[in-house]
Amino acid sequence: MKVLVPVKRVLDYNVKVRVKADGSGVDLSNMKMSMNPFDEIAIEEAVRLKEAGTATEVVAVSIGVPQAQDTLRTALAMGADRALLIQSDQDLEPLSVAKLLKAVVAEEQPTVVILGKQAIDGDNNAVGQMLAALLDWPQATFASKVEIAGNKATVMREVDGGLQTIEVDLPAVITVDLRLNEPRYASLPNIMKARKKPLDVKEAASYGVDIAPRLQVLKVAEPAKRKAGIKVEDAADLVMRLKNEAGVL
């Protein structure tokens, strides 16, 4: 069984976000970039499926600038077998990403596509669901537990009220949530081995898919800053202020 794992190169989650002065976007120049944390969890899950004997091959795919190869190498170092970079200089919308991934799925024929539930830059939480729709595959989103047996996947999902378990027929799209697993650190031997694993590069245009954007970013701004607060003396002071000053009690 082949597992396809799309991964995205994003601003490292530890880096302080700076909005460009001209409002055109977030400043990414010379900032540390890393694999989207949810995608690390997706790769980890796929590699574990391989180690358990359920999956036979894990293929990582990324869509973006040439430097996304670093992200793919990390995926290979974590245990993916092959990687594919679809090069595109423009920022692609989730819909375009889903369409490109559909084309990749047609080529690669995976049984399961595992993705991070959202990318921490766009926070759209959309690609997985859209890919499933385009493929007419069932979707199991926000997975906190995945069991694959035969041609079904049983997935426990984190939902607003608690946990929901569903069963989906394969092939299926699964998006992963935070608590699914703890991604491994790439070991040195695997980092070295990763260099020898295949990493193909293709141009986004070569897929013949309509990736023209539907959304135009008019501006990016910082949110209004909260006024600075104060430190209160003690609990009595706090209650008094909450009642009289803030009026919330």
């Binding site: 530890n14 120049s29 010379n30 540390k32 670093d70 190498r73 990390t74 170092a77 650190y185 790439a186 070991s187 040195l188 031997p189 695997n190 980092i191 070295m192 990763a194 260099r195 600075a228």
Partner: protein, 596 residues
């Protein structure tokens, strides 16, 4: 608060842009490597050190190690962290593939070491001691001994320790009393008591391989009568697994000022079984083989912690608002300005920064020489590298640790009162780094080594390995439009160093006490000139990148400004040192002993 993000950008600058690793990639030993691979390794090391080692640094210091019924327990989290470290292959980073290592160049290993120490100095001593023991074994042990012990130690499955010091002898190991008595089967029985043994006992690995210095019966007196032995905590059974418990026991844990999570033991050897490593009575020579790598390692320990301290100090200086900028409020909307606006705070931060970055550049230079001395194609190149390492080892050890200790104290100072409070983590850095000026050969011993052994060696051959490139650089760049002024200052300082060297060579020959009296200041003078040379080279690279329109302009501009600070505010110290040294031993030796 202790924060630490591995300084990957600066490490990449130093490795790829300042020094370049092409010379290593051209060698068969490193033919498989590339900048890309090196960067992946550094990236992952940064992650592991920050996410696994840093979180247990303060807690490890708080908890310390415990000796419980003869067993030493490391603080909570250390075992798990060590497993992640070992399983990730990090213990074996620079070891040769034939021993199960990853075979990465030592200069990459040094960068990773810096990260480990920056995140958790105590932790670094466990794999650090193992690496030292492995070096000694690889160079001097019989094939049989090597096969039995080295692979597991390279893996990190078994750890190592170095048992040299005794209560009455540290610096002067010639006085040591531990005895080794030959047995019929070729092994030895060792009896004695050792102190200050880092990683002497712990719960991270199922076996610990101790390298022990001891005297054979009828051995000559002093250092010429010392032999090196291997004595494991558990004697390997027929399958090579830890079997019978050997006669080495931790009798007490040292109560130290710092590196509290490092298990520093008093060890008692009671009829312990051991095997000879190398030739009888050649133990000191065997030790010294690995001493160079260990001493450079200690320098890097201090650099690692100094970098972490600097990062915390910068974060604090940005957030802490007190008072107003001398030229008028810079943030009138806030109750006060962040203290980073104050010149005196800047002075402290810049001092830390330029010392850290300068030392990092020097560490990379010296560690690349560690690779070349083993792997360079020609004997000539290997000798050149070996000489350079021999010369620079005492400088790296003493300079980095002295400057590192100054830096962590500056970081505490920047924090004001909060720097003195445990929770902020600065005082731990001070307590932890203090030992680096002492162990692995006190800085005084390093200075004597530089002046007494390395400076005069082979008619100044070692010296030339440093003087030559500096002189060449000066000649080639005096008229450089970007760094010409800097190079002029470098020339003056270098001239002072050369003059002092010549004077010291003369006076030292006549009276060894003159050499001894000048040694510490000479080493500092030497070190400052070395850093100045590297700063000028870094400035040149940065100026070139800016001129070429490199998008990372912010980084290169900062490099240029740092170089300027070094030259304007740090390098002038060389003039004072020159004068002190020139003054000679006089007053200090004239004082009657009774008058102290």
């Amino acid at each position: 608060m202790q924060i630490y993000t591995a300084p990957l950008r600066d490490m990449r600058f130093v490795l790829h842009e300042l020094h370049g690793l092409e010379r290593l990639y051209a060698l068969p030993a490193f033919a498989d490597f590339s900048d890309e691979l090196v960067d992946s390794v550094l990236e992952e090391a940064g992650k592991v050190t920050r996410e696994v080692l840093l979180p247990i640094n303060a807690s490890g210091d708080e908890e310390g190690c415990v000796l419980d019924n003869g067993v030493v327990r490391t603080p909570k989290g250390f075992k798990e962290a060590y497993n992640v470290f070992r399983e990730g292959g990090w213990n074996a980073l620079s070891a040769e593939p034939e021993w199960g290592g990853q075979g990465l160049p030592k200069c990459v290993g040094s960068a990773v070491e810096e990260m480990i120490c920056g995140a958790n100095l105590s932790f670094s001593l466990y794999p650090g001691l193992t690496a030292g023991a492995v070096e000694a074994l690889k160079s001097h042990a019989s094939d049989e001994l090597k096969q039995r012990f080295v692979p597991k130690m390279v893996e990190g499955t078994w750890a190592g320790s170095m048992c040299l010091t005794e209560a009455h002898c540290g610096t002067d190991l010639g006085l040591l009393r531990t005895k080794a008595t030959p047995q019929e089967d070729g092994s030895y029985k060792i009896d004695g008591a050792k102190i200050f043994i880092s990683s002497g006992d712990h719960d991270l690995t199922p076996n610990i391989i101790h390298l022990v210095l001891a005297r054979l019966p009828d051995a000559p007196e002093g250092v010429r009568g010392i032999s090196l032995f291997l004595a494991p905590k558990f004697l390997p059974d027929a399958d090579g697994n830890p079997g019978q418990r050997n006669g080495i026991q931790c009798t007490a844990l040292e109560h130290k000022m710092g590196i509290k999570a490092s298990a520093t033991c008093q060890l008692s050897l009671d009829n312990a079984t051991g095997w000879l490593v190398g030739e009888p009575n050649k133990g000191m020579a065997a030790m010294f083989t690995m001493m160079n790598t260990e001493r450079v390692g200690v320098g890097i320990q201090a650099l690692g912690v100094a970098e972490a301290a600097y990062q915390s100090a910068v974060a604090y200086a940005r957030d802490r608002i007190q008072g107003r900028a001398l030229g008028g409020a810079q943030h009138p909307d806030q109750a006060a300005d962040p203290i980073i606006v104050h010149p005196d705070v800047r002075r402290m931060l810049m001092t830390m920064r330029v010392n850290n970055e300068g030392c990092r550049a020097l560490a990379a230079w010296v560690s690349q020489a560690l690779d070349l001395r083993t792997h360079a194609a020609t004997e000539e190149e290997r000798l050149e590298a070996e000489d350079f390492v021999a010369l620079m080892t005492p400088v790296v050890k003493a300079l980095f640790t002295d400057l590192g200790y100054e830096s962590v104290n500056l970081a505490m100072q920047v924090h004001g009162g909060h720097g003195y409070i445990r929770d902020h983590g600065m005082e731990q850095y001070v307590r932890d780094t203090r030992i680096t000026m002492i162990y692995e050969g006190t800085n005084g011993v390093q200075a004597l080594d530089l002046v007494g052994r390395k400076m005069p060696a082979h008619m100044g051959r070692y010296l030339r390995r440093f003087f030559h490139p500096v002189a060449e650089f000066i000649a080639a760049n005096k008229a450089d439009p970007d760094i010409g002024k800097m190079v002029e200052a470098l020339e003056k300082a270098f001239g002072a160093l050369q003059l002092t060297t010549a004077q010291l060579a003369q006076s030292g020959m006549k009276d060894p006490e003159e050499a001894g009296a000048a040694a510490t200041e000479y080493l500092r003078l030497f070190g400052l000139v070395a850093l100045a040379y590297l700063w000028a080279r870094m400035a040149k690279v940065a100026a070139g990148k800016l001129a070429a329109g490199d998008p990372d302009a912010a980084f290169y501009s900062a490099k240029l400004i740092s170089a300027r600070f070094y030259y304007e505010r740090i390098l002038p110290q060389t003039s004072a040192l020159f004068l002190s040294i020139k003054a000679g031993k006089g007053a200090m030796m004239e004082m009657a002993e009774a008058a102290f």
